[in-house]
Assembly symmetry: none
Homo-oligomer: 401 residues x 2
């Protein structure tokens, strides 16, 4: 019996409210041996008070030693095994710019490149043309028309863009056209399965028209396509957990990830305070709230230890406003660690805290990486967090008599 089958069998509905706060990249490292992490350095009186009554643990996003991107990091927190459920790169890129993929879409990542007079690639990134220039080129590509297919071309950054084909019968199993070398021509889109022949043909026609439109561009006169992918088949929160789930996020990537599991995007909050305003406003309409806080990750990526400490303190300060809503289950965690020392995502377990009336005390008095190792949840796979959330919300029946 799979874990999801078990969940479906046990789900019961009630009026409980679950709040999941994802402080992106929350986990950290000391800058020097013997030092403290960002979270250990931050003054977090509210989180510490909750740690004393709740249960802590260290969540492992994918497997020990595996550093996740935002996609697998969030899928794990949402209860989807990130090794089983994968978001193709084109689908994640589209999601990341806020493009809502439909069931008949196939998305691919595009790169502008420079072709010489013989049609061979002389620069795989078109001289990394500035975004403004690239955006203008993307605008020209809106003229591509393929009969029976809706085509969307959206800029990302510099030489990067996304193309989405929408039509019945498309399939993401198409090979990359980037030969990963200069001095050779871009490859033709090739189907990797018979069912993807139509998609390959559509992509080929897109490339043909685009090449004609871009013929006179000084740098971006060619393009390659990579990571073809349809919208991943993820059971929705409603179908799996019986939860009406709302996502309150500022950045498109996290809104997109939430939409992929069927959460409803609510509000247009641009700050943490506005996110809490929205939480209060939507309180009666949903059972589950995913609240994403970006800046613990971006400061970590910048290597800005002190800034990350401040962002953690900012999050701590807002906790009483969430408590005032009286959630039945309140979770604070991250989708992965982003230690300022490494200036990047990392594989280290993520400090996690769950507060509910049904928590068994684990004797901790502070929310920190060191304490979370000794917490009542131990070191656990992130994909099990939703099982604990559902249990503490008393939304699971008993397994077996």
């Amino acid at each position: 019996m799979t874990e999801h089958d078990l969940v479906r069998e046990l789900v019961e509905k009630n009026s409980s409210k679950i709040v999941l706060i994802v402080a992106d990249g929350l986990g950290g490292l000391p800058m020097q041996p013997g030092g403290k992490t960002e979270l250990e350095t931050a003054a977090t009186p509210n989180l510490d008070r909750l740690a004393a009554v709740g249960t802590s643990g260290s969540s492992v996003p994918v497997l020990p030693g595996i550093t996740p991107g935002s996609g697998p990091g969030h899928l794990g927190l949402f209860g989807y095994d990130p090794l089983e459920f994968k978001i193709g790169r084109g689908a994640l890129e589209a999601t990341g710019i806020g493009f809502e993929l439909g069931p008949h879409d196939v998305a691919a990542r595009g790169n502008f490149c420079t072709l010489d007079s013989a049609g061979l690639i002389s620069d795989r990134r078109a001289g990394r043309i500035p975004s403004e220039e690239s955006f203008a080129v993307v605008e020209k590509l809106q003229a591509v028309k393929i009969p029976g297919v809706e085509t969307f071309v959206k800029p990302v950054k510099e030489h990067r863009f996304v193309v989405v084909f929408r039509a019945a019968g498309l399939d993401g199993r198409v090979a990359d056209t980037d030969p990963q070398a200069v001095g050779v021509a871009p490859l033709d889109p090739q189907p990797l399965a018979p069912a993807a022949q139509k998609t390959a043909d559509v992509a080929k026609e897109f490339v043909r028209q685009a090449r004609a439109i871009l013929a006179d561009e000084p740098k971006a006169n060619g393009l390659t396509l990579r990571g073809f992918a349809a919208k991943p088949a993820l059971p929705s929160y409603e179908e799996l957990y019986g939860l009406r789930a709302a996502a309150i996020a500022v950045y498109p990537m996290y809104k997109g990830l939430a939409q992929l599991v069927g959460m409803t995007l609510v509000g247009k909050a641009q700050s943490l305070a506005e996110q809490i305003d929205q939480l209060a406003k939507s309180w009666n309409d949903f059972d589950f709230f995913f609240l994403h806080f970006k800046y613990t990750d971006s400061t970590g990526e910048d290597g800005a230890f002190d800034q990350k400490v401040k962002r953690i303190e900012e999050l701590d300060a807002i906790i009483p406003r969430i408590e005032a809503l009286k959630p039945d289950v309140l979770i604070v965690t991250g989708d992965h660690s982003t230690p300022s020392k490494l200036k990047s995502h990392s594989w280290h377990p993520v400090p996690t805290l769950l507060v509910a009336d049904t928590c068994r005390p684990d004797g901790l008095e502070k929310f920190s990486e060191r304490n979370c190792l000794r917490g009542g949840f131990g070191i656990f796979p992130a994909k099990h967090l939703m099982l604990l959330a559902m249990a503490h919300a008393q939304r699971f029946g008993k397994y077996g008599a």
Copy 2:
């Protein structure tokens, strides 16, 4: 290689003795924030002394957040993955009343119901008739005779009973006949697989004869059947572990679960003291002893915190009598938690203690939920407990050269 294949490959025999004490529903919760659990409140000088020399841990019965019934709870402790090995509801109900299922049996749960003059259900539970009345009706059903099939009808409680069909070629895949509604007729037994056609036919004939016999009953003039199930195919303790295993339990359910894995029921003990008498008496005849203590669960189910504390102290007081037998491995654990605060089974990990000469000290001096989190076994799946028992009994060879 499955875990059971590994076990079979490594098993070696010796003269060691293993005692597994299952204090049903042992784990608990504080009634108030900042308080102690039942186990933390109890005076347990013997268990604390053993915790100092043994190894502790927190066992997870099924998965984090999943609350097990007695069936999956015990299967896990016995070393059978409760998500892989399932006991069908009819088989568990028969087991729970002490009916020993054979290899050719299919059991179903029966409900008496009230039918109106048109044969439609007017009360799905026959007015919850008292057990005495129900027992008399069950007695009448002994008159059912189906050629080539042995039929057993046994009372459970109030409107509930068990029916077991015994014949070659039966199969549990038959749909429930309870329409889960009033104003409609009971459903006919339908096979859910071609191999279950015979069983469905037998059940139909049983219902036909029963309806005739019950026609004049004022309330229990109809019946529905649910949870058809054959005896689960579980490898026996002897086959899997090479252990001659004895079960010393007071209640039918736990005797039945032990029988399903091939343990031998010994004695007719009615109290913990008598169970220990029996343990001593059977000491030379078996390698493994499962001793079940019910009252830590029943007091928890009643929400009787102080009574549960007393029952834990009762168990502690008897420990020296078990130690006097000099078991090579002594384990004290539970099949799940039953916090008095929740008045029900719960998903919280179960405090577990193993004592053997081969234990590595983990620095704990008391047996409690909080300490067990920091124990040498950490937080571990219950299904792995038997691996540890076998290892500490030095009944496993080395894996690989």
